[in-house]
């Protein structure tokens, strides 16, 4: 494992579904439950809107970790979106792992609108994991960082 740079801060993109996880993030905020500023949230209507290309593109552009948050299985606002997302992400993550890319850089978490504390805990944990992994070098070597 590479040495962690002293003030290394990872870049983390979080895709949150509008109905549960984005609201859960809001609740974390109104409960003042902090998590690192490295986490930046992108709002999507449903976890099933997250295209694998978004994740790969984020890595290409310099992200060190990508996390997808959606409603708990069974609670999807659109009834079945997160079930599709679950299959897609399982296969995609398994493929990344198969290519030798650190499995821990990608994650799916189910966070409901009431789980502000969980949202914060998940983000803290994920940021810690990604920080330990260090900069994302495996997906490419010549990442265009402009």
């Amino acid at each position: 494992m590479q040495e962690i740079k002293k003030d290394y801060k990872p870049l983390i993109v979080a895709f949150c579904c509008n109905w549960c996880s984005y609201a859960g993030a809001d609740l974390a905020g109104s409960s003042r439950l902090s998590y690192p500023a490295e986490v930046k949230i992108i709002r999507v209507p449903c976890s099933c809107r997250v295209n694998p290309t978004f994740i790969l593109k984020a890595f290409q552009r310099g992200a060190d970790g990508v996390i997808i948050c959606g409603c708990h299985p069974g609670d999807c606002h659109y009834t079945s979106g997160n079930y599709f997302a679950r299959r897609r992400m399982s296969l995609l993550f398994s493929m990344l792992d198969y290519l030798g890319i650190e499995r821990e850089r990608t994650r799916v978490e189910w966070v409901s609108a009431a789980e502000g504390a969980k949202f914060s805990a998940v983000m803290n944990d994920f940021a810690k994991t990604v920080t330990e992994l260090g900069e994302n070098k495996r997906l490419e070597d010549l990442r265009c960082k402009n």
Binding site: T53, S80, G100, R103
Partner: protein, 324 residues
């Protein structure tokens, strides 16, 4: 085995002559004996160029997307593996089934030109095929091989059988594969992440983005590929950095996941000999393991595994592609 060619030719002639079909989709002789190409034949005289032999590896089903739209019926010869692609394309409404006359044709595995060249055979004058072995005649000399030595990778593990057709030309039972289709996938999975990374880095960095894999793949049948479409956000004509080839191959494999019949054409045509089918097979093996056995193209109605779900599916956190 030579009999198959005669029967196929005869079938094509008859059906053309009696007006059942307006044209025939088959394989055309090349100049070097092994460079057969897919071709459309319109008349008996055209058919002089027709041949079906141990080099007829090309999957004809994708050509039907265009051919089945034209006036009149088209006769197509489908090897077992081609027919799965055919079904999948029918399921996706890409082939007008009513315009196709399908003849299933026996296949005991096709030969890998690259492997022959490695054995020093540059020119092929003739080929005598049996179920388990094959004799290649080159410059007057006969070379006998056990099938496994010279078969295309996809053929040495082929478990596909003849599906339903308008007619079937078959003289022998299909040989059973001696190798396990997922053997190499399992081997890769057993490696450490570093070893896997090194393997794929080595393989994928060979990619020259010639797009041959995409062009031949029956599942890659979009009107316009996302990689050619600026609005997709991932368009690229060539690899601008080493990330691009990974992105291209991961996305391509993902787009065909659940639709890929494992016909192996991608690897057959890759000029850089990248084992691209190992990406697709990884998805297939994961799908089988996680969501139940599924073979794309086995029929033309069942929903694909990525457009279905069960409430008890595995969580992404439980799913690993290899050694943890």
């Amino acid at each position: 085995m030579q009999k198959l060619n005669e029967l196929a030719l005869e079938k094509a002639k008859t059906l053309l002559a009696n007006g059942t079909v307006a044209r025939v989709l088959g394989w055309k002789k090349g100049e070097l004996g092994y460079d057969l190409e897919p071709a459309v034949f319109y008349s008996e005289s055209d058919l002089e160029g027709f041949i079906y032999n141990a080099f007829s590896g090309a999957n004809l089903s994708k050509y039907l997307i265009e051919e089945s739209k034209k006036e009149g019926k088209v006769l197509v010869f489908l090897k077992p593996c081609d027919s799965y692609s055919f079904n999948q394309l029918v399921k996706e409404h890409r082939i007008v089934k009513e315009n196709v006359y399908t003849v299933g044709i026996e296949c005991q595995g096709k030969l890998d030109v690259k492997k022959l060249k490695e054995k020093g055979i540059e020119i092929v004058d003739g080929v005598i095929e049996n179920v388990d072995d094959v004799t290649v005649i080159s410059l007057g000399k006969e070379y006998n091989f056990v099938k496994e030595e010279v078969l295309l990778g996809k053929c040495s593990v082929c478990e596909k059988h003849l599906l339903s057709y308008d007619e079937v030309i078959s003289l022998h039972d299909k040989r059973t594969p001696k190798l396990d289709r997922f053997e190499i996938v399992k081997k890769l999975e057993a490696m450490t992440a570093d070893e896997r990374y090194a393997f794929w880095k080595g393989e994928l960095s060979k990619c020259i983005r010639c797009n041959a894999c995409r062009n031949v793949c029956p599942a890659c049948n979009c009107l316009k590929c996302v990689f050619d479409n600026d609005a997709s956000g991932i368009a690229s004509k060539a690899n601008s950095d080493s990330f691009e080839e990974k992105l291209f191959h991961i996305i391509r494999a993902f787009h065909v996941a659940g639709r890929c019949t494992d016909c192996g054409e991608c690897s057959r045509v890759c000029p850089q000999a990248i084992p691209l089918h190992l990406l697709n097979r990884k998805f297939i093996s994961d799908i089988n393991r996680l969501y139940g056995e599924f073979q794309a193209g086995e029929d033309d109605v069942t929903k694909g595994p990525l457009t279905a779900y069960t409430t008890g599916d595995a969580e992404p956190s439980e799913v690993f592609g290899g050694n943890k």
